[in-house]
Symmetry: C2
Subunit: 343 residues, 2 copies
């Protein structure tokens, strides 16, 4: 019988910071620390700093030999291959063998990786608002729009590990905004933090009313600026949230016909806008939802602290991690003069 | 140890016919028969005729006592509750306790039910083009557009049993066609057999070229008429299929970002249009798909004979059926004069 060790390590690789923490079986973050993700242009240097930081944390907390597995959430990380593929904001090349490299430097501890939105969904299911739910969709509203879908209690990875790109359903089939994915009209181009800023710029150009947003450099407006203006009663800024919520409600109505989830959980910077976003979203959802689903799916704003959620979600993956780096054995070829001696 | 019996019964309740068959473990339909679904306004009369027919089939094939379970596919049938809820084309009222009634008349044989599209997906997974696939989407293109979604080798039922209504994603957010679900712009209003007929009527009104479809009563045009005209080279009829395929391709591109399936399987009357539908669909999918999914998902037309598929799919559910009707025991209340005799 293999003893389960008392801790896992959760690692969240973000575009700016990499946060890592030791987590126990009850989801308590025993200790955590972080490094700058983009400090090293070389992947091995980055991994060395991450490993040094993690080992320090392990020693300080008397956790040597007690880490059961390592779970990692990272943009474009593929659960099946253990690789990060074409990450938009990481400097280490198009294909990064993340699981193998991490397991190797940590002496063979099992590693599992998935994308950041899936990790957040796992965190929510294990420690957050989705505890006990078997069917829900996590939507992350950050720089982009990501999603982690849970069906029958399992993350939906799809046949290639890339499922759950709900930020890239098409909301505007005509004259849609260009999206980072190379197409036009994606949900992400409207309902992310950057989408909100784009909507604000569009409204300021098209409309003529005064707005406190006009005091800012129009090209530099952020979703935070729009939020602050809306909270201060600015009409254009409030309309930006109406528009964003309306589109999100339409998109969620279509998601519900797919998997009929018990809840949609909103997570990430923009989700913190609270009622400003949630009220128009709910109104739009109510208006657009197919009748048989009416009133059945809750829309919830995540309860987890964003800093914890990513590490907790990643760590939840650590308990079930299976990939373990094994040092290659040296191949020795011995020539026998006399083959008859073979056993 | 319970012996698994050698047969299951598959029942497909369609708007016109109810087909039922005895199926063995290798998916061979040993024998089948059918009755008219709408002959009886009374549900119990319908069930009696179905039971009589099935028992006759069982006797003729020496299958008495050899039926392991009964699987039923029916419109709006709910896997979890065993009920048909608000069926659009059945005459027996808003809530029909199907699983309970069938198990009761068949002397307690276990029964499982699901909607017709899910049953077709099960048939495809067990006996058809989706054998060995763990992630695929079955789209049924008939009078309506239905779907059965398989993720991680399991049907997606959702938290309430209603998941997989992909005929009701919104394709036209402005000025969309009224749909039977009460909303406007649904995929079903465009890409079903009735949708194709509606498109033909619309094109004939808007456009001025000659068309052999103009020889027909415009209100009576069917998708079969449009198919025949297109095969005979009629330009308007061919454009109807171009339009239908284009919309289906756009819809499928959005489905793929959800669950990244290995295949999309098209089933039902309209799927028999072959290349007429498939070529514009593939072109549209190629043009609209998110780059990371490009070239990964096959679009396949079902290999199963339609008459077999529904019964086979329903029968596949029979092997895992758990609901078993048990006759209530008569409650006997005996009054004791002397309570001290209690054990």
């Amino acid at each position: 019988m293999t003893m389960i060790k008392p801790y896992v390590m959760g690692i969240d690789i973000g575009g700016t910071n990499t946060v890592f923490g030791i987590v126990d079986a009850r989801g308590h973050v025993v200790a955590s620390d972080s490094i700058k993700t983009r400090k090293h242009a070389n992947f091995d240097d980055y991994i060395k700093e991450l490993h040094d930081g993690a080992e320090r944390l392990i020693k300080l907390n008397d956790a040597e030999g007690k880490i059961q597995g390592i779970g990692i959430g990272a943009p474009n990380a593929n659960y099946y291959t253990g690789e990060i593929v074409n990450p938009p904001n990481l400097p280490w090349g198009p294909i990064i063998p993340l699981a193998e490299t991490v397991s190797k430097v940590f002496g063979g501890i099992p590693v599992a990786i998935t994308n950041d939105a899936n990790a957040a969904a796992l965190g929510e299911m294990t420690y957050g608002a989705a505890r006990g739910m078997k069917d829900f969709i996590m939507i992350t509203l950050g720089t982009g729009v990501g999603s982690g879908i849970v069906v029958n209690g399992q993350l939906v990875y799809g046949h290639d590990g890339n499922a759950g790109e709900l930020g890239h359903v098409i909301m505007k089939r005509n004259n849609g905004r260009i999206c980072g994915c190379g197409r036009a009209g994606c949900l992400e181009a409207y309902c992310s933090a950057t989408g909100v800023a784009r909507t604000a710029r569009e409204f300021l150009e098209i409309r003529t009313e005064p707005s406190m947003l006009r005091n800012l450099d129009i090209e530099e407006i952020t979703s935070k600026d729009v939020y602050d203006a809306a909270m201060a009663g600015d009409a254009i800024a409030k309309d930006v949230f109406e528009y964003t919520g309306k589109l999100l409600g339409e998109a969620i109505a279509d998601m519900i016909v797919f998997s009929s989830p018990q809840a949609i959980i909103l997570f990430g910077g923009l989700a913190k806008s609270g009622e400003l976003l949630l009220r128009p979203l709910q109104e739009s959802l109510e208006k657009n939802i197919m009748p048989i689903f009416k009133g059945k799916t809750k829309v919830i704003i995540s309860e987890l602290k964003e800093s914890d959620a990513a590490v907790l979600g990643a760590s939840a993956l650590g308990w079930e991690a299976k990939y373990r780096y094994e040092a290659p054995t040296t191949a020795v070829s011995v020539k026998h003069d006399d083959d008859s001696e073979k056993a």
